[in-house]
Symmetry: C2
């Protein structure tokens, strides 16, 4: 089963475009946990070597959307800063009738649209405190 | 021809949820101009009486998406603050292969994803200074 994992990217990098170390290790732990449960995981961060690459954003975005087309489950990780990319891909997943899970860090106040989405019958929500626990929470939710 | 006009909403209201007067008059001028050019325009703001209505966000969002399904052209107005709803509906429009126009206020630095989208062949971009001029700019772009 293939998971498309949509997470904040450009708000989590240093001046040289490298993903912050603590955030990288959070996302790595999450992906590792999901892979241990035998999910195939696509996430832009490892796919782009944990670095903003502006050389051909058009091709990169097309490639991301292709990966989303191929995914069985779309997981959006929402935090306090709205991610333009996560929101965009959520809308794309919604139109493509993917199974959607919105995961939000405890304490995050969802905006109007994401709050409304949480009430759609094909969309699940999960709140988490630590990324390394989110993997198990997602697996629990998916196998239910 | 029907235009779905996606604009910031929740970041443009006062404490009681009413859309700020100056912003309302900007959007009214834009819609009026488009209607004068014989477009049918859907926009959440007038549709929801220029007020955040949290009574049934699920039904409201479903109704918005239905209007997007029915639209011929999707116009996203981007400003400095990222709108979760505008981004979500842009992704939805993209998956549904709508003709998309990204309109941004001069001086707005687009994020990675919107910048990449601007390079897609079925997506047009327009920069504007004043809302009352944007209507004419959109009409010019659409009839081309």
């Amino acid at each position: 089963m293939k998971i498309f994992l949509a997470v904040s990217f450009t708000s989590k990098v240093d001046n040289e475009g490298n993903v912050n170390a603590a955030y990288r290790s959070d996302i790595e732990a999450l992906i590792q946990k999901l892979e241990e449960e035998n999910y195939e995981v696509y996430c832009a961060l490892p796919s782009e070597n944990w670095k903003i690459n502006n050389q051909n954003p058009i091709m990169l975005l097309r490639s991301e959307l292709k990966n989303l087309d191929d995914a069985d489950i779309f997981v959006a990780v929402l935090d306090k800063t709205i991610s333009a990319g996560v929101q965009l891909s959520t809308g794309y997943a919604l139109a493509n009738k993917k199974r959607i899970i919105q995961a939000s860090i405890i304490g995050t106040k969802l905006g109007w649209a994401n709050n409304a989405l949480a009430g759609f019958e094909n969309i699940s929500s999960v709140n988490f405190e630590f990324y390394d626990e989110l993997g198990a929470q997602l697996h629990e939710l998916i196998r239910r």
